[in-house]
Each structure stands twice: as C-alpha cells, then as structure tokens.
Amino acid sequence: MKYYLGLIVEYLKNYIKTRMTYRADFWVEVISDLLFQATNLIFIFVIFMHTDSLGGWSQGEVVFVYGFFMVPFGVFSCFINLWGFSERYIVKGEMDRVMTRPAHNLFQIFLENVDPPALVGSIIGIVIMAVSGSQLGLPFEWWTVPAMLVLTISAVAIYTGIYTALTSLSFYSDAPTGILPLMYNVQGYGRYPVTIYNRAIQVLLTWILPFAFVGVYPASLFLEREEMRNMAFLTPLVGGVFLLIGLTAWNYGVRRYRGAGS
C-alpha cells in the first residue's frame, strides 16, 4: 500500500515536470474542460428560461446536482484516464512494457495517464454547490463533509468500474476507437432528476450503467429530497459492486491478452 502511494507521488511529480515544459497547454486543457462543463450549465439555464421546474426540481436544485456531479467527475478524470488505451497500449504495444514491471498493470496505466487539470472541475463543482446550496438555504451539518467524501469516493468507484470494464473490451475487439466517447454523453444524464425519464431509462441509469449514482441520487441527500434518500445511501454499495465488476473484467481481459485460458 505504501509502495503504491509512493508511486502516485512519483508519477505526479513527473507529470508536473512534464507540464513545466508545456505550461500553455495546461491552461488550454483547463479551459476546454471548463467549457465542456459550461455547455451543460448553459443547457440547464436555457431550459429554465422556458420552464419553472423540471419534473418537480427547481433550477437551484438542478444546478446544485450539477455542482455535485462535477466533484467526483474531476477526481475520476484526474486519476483514471483510459482514453486512447487501445491505441497506445494495445496497438502500439506499450502493454508489453507495462507487463514487464513489478506493479499491478492497471495501476501503472492509471498513473501513466494522470491528468491533474481535471481537478479544477472538482473545485468549481464545490463552489457551485456552495453558492447554490446557500441560495437554496441548505443546512450545513456535521455530516456534510464526511458524507461528501464517502459519496465522492463511491461515485469515483462507479466511474472506475464502468470505464475499466468497457476499456477491457479492447482486449477482445480490435477496434481502435472504442465506445468510451459515447459513454461521455450517457454519464451526463445521471445529473438530471431521473424521475423525468421513462421506466426503461431509469432502470438503465440506476442498475445497468448506474450514472444516476454519480449525480442526482447522492446529491439528493444534501438537497433533503426524501424520495431519493434511500438511493443516496445505496451509493457506496453500488460503487463497491461496480468497481469489483470493472476489476474482474479487466483481469479477465489481461488474461486473454496474455493468452491464458481463452
């Protein structure tokens, strides 16, 4: 454990050193990330120019959910960045190099692709939560910060599980582009009140691609919306289950890559 924590520090150091050479890029990346988030906020604002409530949720509440959504997403994007895995590691063969080193292969891949600018999104998310939370008059309790931590970690586990499972498909299919970019659209849907969707989409976003657990469910705990409280409590469990699924799928994929038991 200490070994892996040490490695995180070491890889981050290297990241920073790399970035010192391309300082302008850092900001381009931050801005493009923010622009991406801004698009979604613009969507929310435009919608509420034409209606007062979205399935019984006010603008303030939807914006708060959005703020919450940005926090785990930023953490996830910083540490788990599997874009272009197939291209870089399978097609160009870097997986072989990873396999000749004495640390878990997935962990090495995560570390080789750390992307700290994404954390700026998390910070802005917190700011959005604070601003819209105080406008809504949400109480700040003793459990707010611990709950935020637990829910953030759980949500990151859900993302990690889903994306790791999907990325492990690259071990089976020779497609270079993968379906990850498409998933980026889907994950956003969990930050709107899922009750506005029909049953099928609700089930999908709750149990199959549980993106509702990275947005509206956990955020409802702070918004004190009774109807989703139980779902909020379920978040850590869903996180654990999906992380397990992701890691299992990955390990099977690696087994296949190594030509074992296929």
């Binding site: 302008a24 381009v28 435009v46 020779d174 497609a175 379906i179 969707y197």
Partner: protein, 267 residues
C-alpha cells in the same frame, strides 16, 4: 501513372471496409444514440409539460428535430481532427505530404467513406429504432428528402472542414488535445444539437447566426421538421454553401503553412 480520381475513390472504399471491421462500436453506437434521443425526448417532455410552443417548436416538432439531429450527427461525425493530429505528432505526416496526392483530399475522402458507413449501418437503423420508440414524424414529400440529403452532405463537409482545421493546428501548438476537445463541445452546443438555437436567449442566438456551426445541425434540422419551408430552404442551402466556401480559405491556408513549416523547418 497516378490516377487521381480512382485513387481518391479507393480511399472511400478502403475506409468503408475498415469501418466494417469494427463492429462492436456500432452495435453499441446505435443503442447509445437511441438512448441520447430518449433522454432528451423525456427531458423536453418534462419541460413542455402540458403543451405550448418553445422557440417556435411544438412538442412534436421538437421530438422530430431531436431524432433528426442526432441521426444527422451519426452520419457527419468523424475523428479527422484526431487522425490528423496523430499523424502530425508521430511524424508520419511527412510521408503523407510527399506522396503524390493531396493529404486534405485524402482525409476528406476517408471521412466520407466513414460517413457512408455510418449512414448505412448507423444512421438508417438508428432512425428506424427511433421511429419505433418515439413519436417522430418525418415528412412524406420526396423533395424534402432530396433536400435533406443534400444538406446532410453539406453538414458533413462543414463539420469535416472544421475537423481538418482543428487537426492541422497540431502543427502550431504543442499539444492539440485541448483544442480538439473544445471544438467538439462547441460544435455539439452551437450547432443546435443539444438545444435548438431559437431557444437560446436573443443575443446568444444572434451570435450563433454568424458562426458556421448552425449550418451543421440546426438549419438542416429546421428544414426537415418543416419549420422552414419554401424559399427559406434555398436560403439555408445558400448559407451552407457559403460556409463551405468560406471555410476553404483557412483550411487551404493552414495546409500551405503546414507544408511550408514541414519542409522549411523540418517539422
């Protein structure tokens, strides 16, 4: 001898065949696009509530607009920016530039091969599924279809031109990734895919009227849902052609600059 036309056509064919090999992407792609349409359909349904009209769209027109725009995207979307940027970063662009063809033309052809594939195996089946699931009302007049196909082709051209321009930027900035992400976001938002442009607040809508993005989704979508009719259709086509021509300028200029940079400064 290098036979230009047939070689270029071959790039279309080869890309088409290459795309066929990557089946997993497109089975899931259809599902996810259907899901996208579904999510926005229900979101708009919640916004419309009882009925009425938003930004000149009735609820039923909005449904059709959504389905048509997403399916148009299924056709015109491509990753030419990423491909070009990769070619530049790993240096293989140099080989491309000395071959006896025009690199940009090749990329456009490859993009079109991909588009054809997406049209047949992605857009058409996706549209069929969307029509089964949601109350999508497509026009019956053959002129509307013919017009839509022509506009769709221009959507593809304009989107690909923007991609080529973003891709070639890799020559001039160290890491193009940020720009490519930005472009993607901007195109999805400003093209009217996520929100029809008439719903934006006036000033923002006005600004978008001066940008090329609306010619990719919003204008053709408006024609196809029957919001724009008659002479307006020719205007829309005119705007598309205009943007196609205007975008040729920076594209060709960047291409020239890139060649110069590559050959004079060695990359």
């Amino acid at each position: 001898m290098f036979n230009g036309t047939s070689a270029y056509l071959d790039f279309i064919r080869i890309r088409f065949l290459t795309m066929l090999a990557y089946r997993v992407n497109y089975y899931t792609g259809i599902l996810i696009y259907t899901l996208n349409i579904g999510v926005y359909y229900f979101t708009w349904k919640a916004i419309y509530g009882g009925g009425g009209e938003l930004g000149g769209f009735t609820a039923s027109q909005m449904t059709t607009y959504l389905a048509v725009s997403w399916m148009a995207r299924a056709f015109y979307f491509n990753n030419l920016d990423r491909e070009i940027s990769t070619d530049i970063r790993d240096g293989s662009i140099a080989i491309q530039f000395i071959r006896p063809y025009n690199y940009i033309m090749v990329k456009m052809m490859q993009g079109f091969g991909e588009g054809l594939f997406r049209f047949m195996l992605f857009m058409i089946p996706g549209m069929a599924i969307a029509m089964l699931l949601f109350p999508v009302k497509l026009p019956t007049a053959p002129e509307a279809w013919a017009g839509f196909l022509v506009m769709l082709f221009f959507s593809f051209l304009i989107n690909s031109q923007l991609n080529v321009i973003t891709g070639l930027m890799a020559f001039f900035v160290e890491n193009n990734e940020g720009f490519m992400r930005m472009k993607r976001v901007v195109v999805d938002l400003f093209s009217g895919l996520i929100i029809p442009i008439s719903l934006f607040p006036g000033w923002l809508g006005d600004i978008m009227g001066f940008l090329p993005f609306q010619a990719i989704t919003y204008l053709p979508g408006s024609v196809f849902t029957g919001r724009i009719q008659g002479v307006g259709i020719w205007q829309v086509l005119g705007i598309q052609v205009l943007w196609f021509v205007l975008l040729l300028i920076p594209m060709v200029w960047l291409y020239r600059m890139s060649r110069k940079r590559l050959f004079v400064q060695g990359g």
